[in-house]
């Protein structure tokens, strides 16, 4: 099972060694990840930059327990994610990981509050849907259905849904990809605030290099290889970024 706290507080939460993922075989093989090494400490905001097809989504999927690697290892708090079976991965996703999708993926038949409630019902130590909505500044939209919300609002509900279970790991896949700049800023502010207030290790993948300014640590990816680009001693608030 997931999450026995065997590591010391200083050790990284997520550790990847020679992580590889190959789709297909023979001539048709696609090497999405070619030996990635990665240490992600607790509580940081990490931005993963890369062009489309660089392998950043593949990496995120592996960290999020959606897929199994074809080589190398991936550990969360010393637990081997790469060797987990399906029920183990399900429990890992349920208890540890929060996901924010590019297209929000809210359940159309549920209101904002219920979308969050659906997840908190199966979580071990969730905050209330109301508190989660307050964190993203949407208390007044709690009873609206997704079709009654703007894109930015929907994404903030999705963020509230992701963090309501107090995950240790928040994974955001192009969270502003479908939004205009103004609403995108609101969404990123919400992500940054949550990272600071709750201390959730947050990984944002994007192809927008400007976002690098808001991160504690920035990685770049190309052709399945990962490089540490820089470490910001003082990450800048989202509001100060030059768009």
């Amino acid at each position: 099972m997931v999450a026995s706290d065997s590591s010391s507080p200083a050790s990284p939460l997520v550790v990847a060694r020679d992580l590889a993922k190959t789709y297909g075989s023979g001539n048709a093989a696609v090497h999405a990840l070619r030996g990635v090494n990665l240490d992600l400490p607790k509580g940081e905001l990490v931005v993963l930059l890369g062009a489309s097809g660089s392998g950043k989504s593949t990496l995120l999927n592996l960290i999020g327990g959606l897929d199994n690697p074809t080589g190398g290892s991936l550990h969360y708090r010393g637990w081997d994610v790469s060797k987990a079976d399906e029920p183990g991965l399900t429990a890992y996703r349920r208890d540890v990981v929060g996901f924010v999708f590019q297209f929000y993926n809210l359940i159309a038949s549920l209101t904002a509050r219920e979308n969050i409630g659906l997840i908190t019902e199966v979580s071990r130590d969730p905050m209330s849907p109301e508190d989660a909505l307050e964190l993203v500044d949407l208390t007044n939209r709690a009873n609206h259905f997704p079709a009654q919300l703007s894109g930015g609002e929907q994404q903030r509900v999705a963020i509230a849904r992701a963090i309501a279970k107090r995950p240790e790991l928040l994974l955001c896949d192009e969270p502003t990809g479908a939004l205009d700049v103004k609403t995108g800023v609101l969404v990123l502010e919400a992500i940054q605030r949550i990272n600071r207030e709750i201390g959730t290790l947050t990984v944002v993948i994007t192809h927008n290099a400007i976002l690098a300014e808001m991160a504690d640590r920035v990685f770049t990816m190309s052709d399945g290889r990962l490089e540490l680009a820089r470490v910001n001693a003082k990450p800048r608030p989202v509001g100060e970024l030059a768009w």
Binding site: D67, D95, F103, I107, A108, S109, I119, F145, Q148
Partner: protein
Amino acid sequence: MDLLDLKLLRDLKALKSQAFAVALVMACGLAMMIMTRSLIRSLNHARDGYYEKHHFAEVFANLKRAPESAREKLAAIPGVAAVETGIEISVTLDLPELLEPASGLINAVPDRRPTLLNQLYLRRGNLLEGSSRLEVLVSEAFADANALNPGDPIAAILNGRRLELRVAGIVLAPQYVFEARPGSALPDNKTFGIFWMREQELAEAFNLEGAFNTLALSLAPGASEPEVIAEVDRILKPYGGLGAYGRSEHPSNIRVDDEIRVLEGLSFGFPLVFLSVAAFMTHSVMSRQIALQREQIAILKAFGFRNATIAWHYIKFALVIVVVGTGLGTLGGFIFGLRLVDMYHLFFRFPRLEFVPASGAIIGALVASSAAALIGVAGAVRKVVRLSPAQAMRPEPPESFRPALAERMGFSKWLTVSLRMALRNVERKPWQAIFTTVALAMATGILIIPNAFRDGIRHILDFQWDVVQRQTVTVSLVEPGPLRAAHDFSQLPGVVLTEPFRTVPIEMVAGHRSRRLALHGVVKDADLNRVIGGDGKPLLLKQNGLVISEALGETLEVRPGDLVTINVLQGKRRSITVPIGGFSQDFAGIASFMELDALNRLLGEGDRITGAFISVAGGQWEEFLKELKATPQASGVVIKNAMRQSFRKTTAESIGLIQVIYSSFATVVAFGIVYNSARIALSERARELATLRVLGFSQGDVGSVLVGELVVLAAIALPLGLWIGSGMASLLIQSINTETVRLPLILSASNYAYATLVITLATTFSALIACRKLNQLDLVGALKATE
């Protein structure tokens, strides 16, 4: 091959299980249609051919005894084409393998002239020669039940004399297609049979030389049956005529007609239900297919394909389902039809009853299923035609929802989140929900019908054999005898109680309505054969008081207290007008009862009886039967348990088969509708479900969200189905209830439990199969582009 057709083939392959589910439901309706139409055709074909070739008569009469000279008067009646007179007598038989005496009717085969009407069909052996003596022909049903073959010996007691006879041949006759003891609704082929002997031998044995006691007539074209019947009655009155009747009252013919009538009802009602469900399923599958192919359609349109071409492409999709459905339906119809034709041999005896496929019905099936599919696909195709290419290129707008009715009414507190999702989905697509519910309800309802029949029959039998007839055996006398005869029976070994009875043929008249039937004279405080009232308690027969069955009351439109006239059709032919003392509960249809002494006073022939009800102690049963067999005055013996067993066997077999057919059809519908609904929901909500999986829901959690909606609908459908099924069973039972058979509507808890269980299992199983597809959900894809 057209490239669009290639696309069609590949699409079909991808949707094969759903298309197959629709085809199966369609096939059920068509199988029922082809089966029932073919059975109607088979029965009609067998009956009409038989009646015509063997000259089945059109008017029938029984009488005490008339001289041959009366024959000419009958032949002279305007409209009469042919006259056949004969002798028909009750006999008791002694079969070596049978403990109890068997009984039957023995008919005369004319010696010196050919038989004009009701000619025999020889199955095996020989017909009777002019020189043959002590030979009989035996009806096939009796011969089969007792394993009799030509050449076998058979002992009969004719007019008190025991004769050792030999079976010459096994035969059939058009007036005995359905062979049962007179007045009995149930066949009992083991202990009751029909026999034929040379006329001269029979006449000698019964002192009926130069006389006849049964009559059959055929009519000239255009003749009026009622007029002929009235004239026959007038002529036969002095000879003890018991009233002539036409084919519509002929006991064997009625049974065949009833069966055809029931089949006709089924041949329309059932297919209608199944094809409506299939049309709805076609609509769901095609609507989803078209929604998924929006962009493809847009591209085709953008490249200049005409609307008609694209519409035809999707219509062809539905037509492939029709072809498969019709093929399977025809096959199913033939298989079930052949089995049912086999089953009919238990009840109906034709020279040849062959399964005659109704080719018209197959064409009808093709047309009906095409119509159903086209109706189903029409709405979806209309959407295709209306779609503009530019609009189709864009993804469909997000679905809008609102709180469900139950929530708006303030019940939201009690609803879990997944239940709310289910309710809101139901409200968003009300027609889909209604159709799914109705289809499931129909599937449930269909299951109620065969068990309602089974329970109704069981109720009758238990009532008849445990409440009314508490005797072990009923023994009839060869002819009315003195009361002493009952005393003689009480001397037989093991007899505990004896109750005499007398039965006479009468005509009961109330106003302008009249009815010919038997009036039973029974003892006042009967312990064995009792007359039971509507409250289930024995009725006390008052002096001169008459009790009639409810069915007779309805026929004559009379109520207790009303006066009716009884015209005795025997002996001194007296008449009496008496008030109706009460109604009895009698599932065997029309019946009337009077106190034995009162009846004997009415008849004015002294204290006479025609038989006795006897209760026998178990220990001496075999001795009792042995001595009874040797008692010459006993002509007919009905053993309750033998009757019960033989009936259980035949009904169990036939109802069992019908139950298999209905249950398999209901299961297919339930399975098809649930499987398809789940698959369509899975397709429509794949992204939503994948999202839930990503967010940490297990496959089981996601599965319950997927089928939550179906669980809600099934929960509504089950009680609705039980209600619909009760209604259908009630209608069907009413439609087959006749004057002679009254099946009560018995809806037992076990019937409801069976239907609920079958539908629950079918829906659960199909939902589980559909949920297996959840393994294939693309979790990574859910993170990416919209649909």
